[in-house]
Symmetry: C2
Subunit: 239 residues, 2 copies
Amino acid sequence: MDNSSGVGVIDKAAMVLDALESRPASLAQLVTATGLARPTVHRLAVALVHHRLVNRDIQGRFVLGARLVELASAAGEDRLTAAAGPVLLQLRDATGESAQIFRRQGDSRICVASAERPVGLRDTIPVGTQLSMRGGSAAQVLLAWEDHDRLLEGLTNARFTPTVLAGVRRRGWAQSLGEREPGVASVSAPVRGPSGRVIAALSISGPIERLTRQPGRLHSDVVCNSARILTESLRKSGE
Amino acid sequence: MDNSSGVGVIDKAAMVLDALESRPASLAQLVTATGLARPTVHRLAVALVHHRLVNRDIQGRFVLGARLVELASAAGEDRLTAAAGPVLLQLRDATGESAQIFRRQGDSRICVASAERPVGLRDTIPVGTQLSMRGGSAAQVLLAWEDHDRLLEGLTNARFTPTVLAGVRRRGWAQSLGEREPGVASVSAPVRGPSGRVIAALSISGPIERLTRQPGRLHSDVVCNSARILTESLRKSGE
DNA sequence: TATTGCCGTCTCAGATACTGAGATGCAAGT
DNA sequence: ACTTGCATCTCAGTATCTGAGACGGCAATA
């Protein structure tokens, strides 16, 4: 396999990171693992420490750094939003309502991607918007598949009950009427990561006048189907 | 702030990764964001793509790559095992039994750190050992705090029931007698990540003769306390 | 106590890998 | 058809990187 990218320093830095993937290592161990000259490894490793891609533990060993976790989190977000784009557009066009993706962040949920209905009466939630976990069909979905303790903790200030969340799990979707904002109805379904864990909620939202008082009856099939497509897409792109 | 590590190419590559943290970017956007010459950015970005630290999306934009997720996962593992070391030694000495940390991996649990009782009759589980999720106090802990669906799925082949897992959640610990191996007893408690989610199980194990048929009565306090200390240590080191 | 070996860190002469101006090709816009 | 902007490639020049060797510290051994 051709391991040369055309930039030697980056090739060598990648070798150092690869060597640290299995376990923390002393300078001597890195020299052995990479086959590079000792001062070269030292200089590269210290440079990676400077950028927090590598760290030193209390014994002075080199260890993978926190910056990797930060960048990986951003990479995960990129993959979700990239995969969500076409699915949101399709869902918006199929239902005629605005569609969004929410992720949980402590006591809030964040809109990380959206596709707006372009004309007429519509619900607008810009990317980055931070909403409460107290109400809304997305909050129900993000809570329904938490572990037992976190589910109970999340219900502390919520407008819905364990019975409601049991129904969400049974049906595989949630609906809400005026929970976040009077006059707005919504339907949400879970998006799962490769491990099966719920990582986001896929939603549509719009005026009650159009979505009726039974928005789930109208749209749960297409929302669930879209969430399944997105889940599948993430599983495939994860290899 | 001094942004120079002493290795110019690594400094520039770090600038490219930093620029991609907020969103995917075209070459032109990277040139603007980094202030570097276009062919330089092109060459570095392509080299990072070669090592999978960066990827190209379908529009040709550069985006953070899957290798970052892999390395971050390893980094997280490093932090857990680093923090666990002293806690395992303390627990081993306090109880006189071997102590381990397990993480869930699909239908298995993996021993990621351990401290063995040095002499006499003892339970040995080398790091890397892959055990079943069907039985054992660690399996109970790793399952008790899963979301409802994954909990039920996990019980499919398990020797314990939802009632048993409800007891684990109520008490905050699990015990087992001969579930993994005849003659071996164990006690486990949950280790939580900064978000409160259970990420690992802290366990002690040894012969039933010494641990009795009520190992939890003997040791649950010290195991739970050690798990709390480890949880706190991870929260602090995650700043 | 003295010696030895290994480790991490630093220096710096020399080599070469990296840089970036400029060229090329392509697609989009007018 | 022409222009503009972008991505990609080339290559002469040089600034950066390399690694042999030196140095200091520490642990192990005699």
